[in-house]
Amino acid sequence: MATEKDFLTPVLPTWCPGCGNFGIWTALRQALAELGLEPHQVVMSFDIGCCGNGANWHQVYGFHSLHGRPLPIAYAVKLANHDLKVITISGDGGGYGEGGNHFIHTCRGNIDITYIIHNNHRYSLTTGQSSPTSEHGAKTKSTPDGLIEYPFNGLQTAITCGATFVAQGYSDEVVHLKELLKKAILHKGFSLVDILQPCVIFNEKNIREQYKQKVYKLEETDYQPTDKITAYQKAAETEKLPIGILYQEEKPSYESQLPQLAKMPLVKQEVKKEDISQLLEEFK
């Protein structure tokens, strides 16, 4: 059986020392190993960003796609071969900004993909512009006079658009995050795990203290992730930051509703000349 080390490539991470991405990386590798998966059984698609640079040190079938576009890649991979575990990595910029449209519409179909957002509230790889999740008033390179917009709430939007598993994680709570990711990956349907991820370069200097004070575990409360409206309200919290599953629901996944896939995955169907004579009748 594969261990978390088997999910490592020879490449060393290029993330800054102390970057929150390390915690996510570790949690994910451990989750994959503990789920008994082998590297070749997993496809991960990656955004462009600091988060996406991770494509180089995840030993799985990887697709380092374009900024904002890893979700439709993952969607098709799952439809092409639903035997694979499919995971997508985006940043708050790529996932909610450039790729926002794919996000809201992928939620609607409940395709069995796990969508992980490395949410550092900034465009970090492009050196610190504001992102959709930046706080109102944020002074960033692209908004030196303060951001006018209010932040985009990915959790609430996912709930609204039909995601069946919606969770918040924190990159420094690695064990908690690992368990969360395992549940997300096991969930049959579209799962969003939006992870609070300190960026030691472009976030406020005391970002980790802030998170330490604010983050609490939903499992340690009597919260039940079963009601949409309750979850929606929970997802609005910013004074305190709940981590864990905010909402979960059983619903048929997209690919499970396609009779085309009932017998076997598309990719296992032999590519050969198909008889089209029945179709030709239509044109006579």
Binding site: T9, V11, E38, P39, H40, Q41, V43, S45, I48, N53, A55, N56, Q59, V60, Y61, G62, F63, H64, S65, L66, R69, P72, I73, A74, Y75, A76, V77, L79, A80, N81, D83, L84, N101, H102, I104, H105, L258, P259, Q260, L261, L266, V267, Q269, E270, V271, K272, K273, E274, D275, I276, S277, Q278, L279, L280, F283, K284
Partner: protein, 583 residues
């Protein structure tokens, strides 16, 4: 299929029906067309319609012959004008000895208006009441009247009606048959049918030919050669590919997805290609504009993907329901950075079928994006053709590694440097094939490199570019139609083929070099083919002369360019006239 044999021109009969949208012209027209084909005749049709759902002028035109016909003709022998607008718009195309039937319940034709062309009134509302049929079947009265004029076999027509309306129930079938019969008898009784100089006779009973558009044959080809994934966002004139493939999905097992936008559609097609499934998307130019970024992604990750692009007049929304060949130059250099892509440019439904099967082979063999570039004229116009022959194409998936081959490799390099530029693929899920498909420049495993590693960058660019030699060898060569030597050679691509082939039937000492693959161009091959050619005339359905520009770049000396960009395709007659002046 029997295309132009450059025999003496066979007789062509062109029939046009025009009226308000929703008036059933297209249905009536297609029924008549089918009846002709069932009788062993050949047809080519085309519709004109505005970008709205009801109202506005809609026309249907079909050219019919006892020989294969490759285009619609301008000169009309029989016009059915269901309203004044149609009458005014279509009148100029009437031949002197033709006939116009018009709905005299809708408008009056003033004496002298037709400059001698014979007209017969057809008071459709009144006739429908008389015949005790619903007004909606009025178009079948028209069809019956036409059959009378043309002396065409009512049996065949009734058979087609039975087939067409079978799923609407016996009552509807009977009403339509009644209508046809009524129209037939009315015409016999009231028109001077014998004086009408154009007659159509069934040649033989033909239940083999199909009446298809290029979109139809593209869809059929995708199914036939094992495409199992199709993602597409609707856009005229490409939408019917989505609709066909979706409607067949339960039969074919293809997964058909209509996603949120074209960006998603293209990335999905790429994702499925990466995952090892033959995949395709379809759109028009504006939709492709949104796919442009992803084209570069397919290129650098060397992921096979087939893109159907059906052109319409631009820029921007332009004339969305009309035709033009104005996206070739765009596709040839679309997207940032430099890479190989292939643009196949079928000229008719038949060619579209085979080139689509070839597109999948090229995409997988060379691990590149491949376009099939068509346009509204052939995407929506029907031609009667033989059924495609599954022996005439093959399936070539290129270099795919088996599980056994992978098991033997200790260090699998997805992007291994090779002479051909192609490196064997592993498919996600295969043990031992784990790799990174990377939009960043990468080394042989797919891992990101920086410019510090300049040598690898150069080798990777060269590797991808090296495919060109092999691709050129695999591409269909420009094909010469007409006499080997000629005074004047027409050059064209895509849908100009049909009207040009028709014109060649008349034009003496003129031939036509057809580019079934307009990109990349093979300078050596073209130079060879054009050796000794005196007058080179490039004919294109656009303003800029896009192929002409590209040919000049490879050193072709062009004598003349013929361009049309009013939203319509060329008519054979126009070509005959234009070329005659040049000879």
């Amino acid at each position: 299929m029997k295309t132009s044999k450059n025999t003496k021109p066979s007789k062509i009969f062109t029939y046009k029906i025009g009226g308000i949208a929703g008036g059933g012209q297209q249905v009536a027209g297609l029924i008549f067309t089918k009846a002709c084909v069932r009788g062993g005749l050949y047809t080519f049709d085309s519709s004109e319609y505005p970008s709205r759902i009801r109202g506005g002028l809609v026309t249907y035109r079909v050219s019919i012959s006892d020989q294969p016909v490759n285009a619609i003709y301008k000169t009309t022998q029989l016009l059915i004008a269901l309203n004044r607008e149609a009458f005014d718009y279509c009148l100029p195309d009437m031949t002197k000895d033709g006939v116009i039937l018009y709905d005299s319940d809708k408008f009056e034709v003033k004496p002298g208006e037709t400059k001698g062309v014979k007209t017969y009134p057809l008071p459709l509302a009144k006739l429908a009441t008389q015949a005790q049929i619903k007004p909606i079947a009025g178009n079948m009265i028209v069809t019956g009247a036409c059959a009378a004029l043309l002396g065409y076999d009512l049996e065949i027509l009734n058979e087609v009606i039975k087939n067409t309306f079978a799923d609407k129930g016996q009552e509807v079938v009977e009403m339509n048959i009644t209508a046809v019969k009524f129209g037939y008898q009315y015409a016999k009784a009231n028109f001077d049918v014998d004086k009408f100089p154009y007659k159509l006779k069934p040649i033989n009973k033909n239940d083999q030919s199909i009446i298809v558009t290029a979109n139809d044959t593209i869809s059929l080809a995708a199914v036939a050669c094992g495409c199992k994934f199709f993602a597409s966002y609707p856009m005229t004139p490409a939408s019917s590919v989505l609709e066909r493939l979706a409607s067949w999905a339960h039969l074919t097992g293809m997964v058909v997805k209509h996603p949120e936008d074209e960006i998603s559609a293209m990335h999905m097609a790429i994702g499925a290609g990466f995952a090892g499934v033959r995949s395709m998307t379809a759109t028009s130019g504006g939709g492709f504009a949104l796919m442009t970024e992803a084209l570069a992604l397919a290129a650098i990750t060397e992921t096979p993907v087939v893109v159907i692009e059906s052109q319409r007049p631009g820029p921007a929304t332009g004339l969305p329901t009309w035709t033009e060949q104005s996206d070739l130059a765009y596709l040839a250099t679309a997207a940032h950075g430099e890479f190989i892509r292939v643009i196949l440019t079928p000229g008719d439904p038949w060619e579209a079928f085979y080139l689509t099967t070839q597109a999948f082979n090229l995409a997988e063999k060379w691990q590149i994006p491949v376009f099939v570039l068509v346009d509204k004229y052939i995407s929506e116009g029907h031609q009667s053709i033989d059924q495609p022959d599954s022996k005439k194409f093959n399936i070539d998936r290129g270099q795919l590694l088996s599980d056994e081959q992978l098991a033997k490799l200790t260090d699998y390099k997805r992007y291994q440097f090779t002479k051909s530029g192609v490196s064997p693929r592993a498919i996600p899920g295969q043990k031992g094939g784990v790799y990174l498909a990377n939009s960043d420049e990468h080394e042989e495993h797919g891992l990101t490199i920086e410019g510090f590693d300049a040598l690898t960058r150069i080798k990777m660019v060269d590797k991808r570019a090296a495919k060109l030699a092999g691709v050129l060898k695999d591409l269909p060569k420009p094909k010469l139609y007409g006499p080997k030597t000629a005074k004047l050679t027409l050059l064209g691509w895509g849908s100009v083929k049909g009207p040009v082939l028709e014109a060649l039937k008349v034009l003496d000492k003129v031939n036509y070099l057809h580019f079934s693959a307009a990109w990349p161009l093979d300078k050596a091959e073209i130079t060879k083919q054009l050796k000794g050619v005196k007058k080179i005339v490039v004919i294109e359905n656009n303003h800029d002369g896009q192929l002409a520009n590209m040919l000049e770049q490879v050193g072709v000396k062009i004598t003349q360019r013929l361009n049309k960009y009013n939203g319509a395709q060329f008519f054979p007659e126009e070509i005959i006239e234009l070329v005659s002046k040049l000879k």
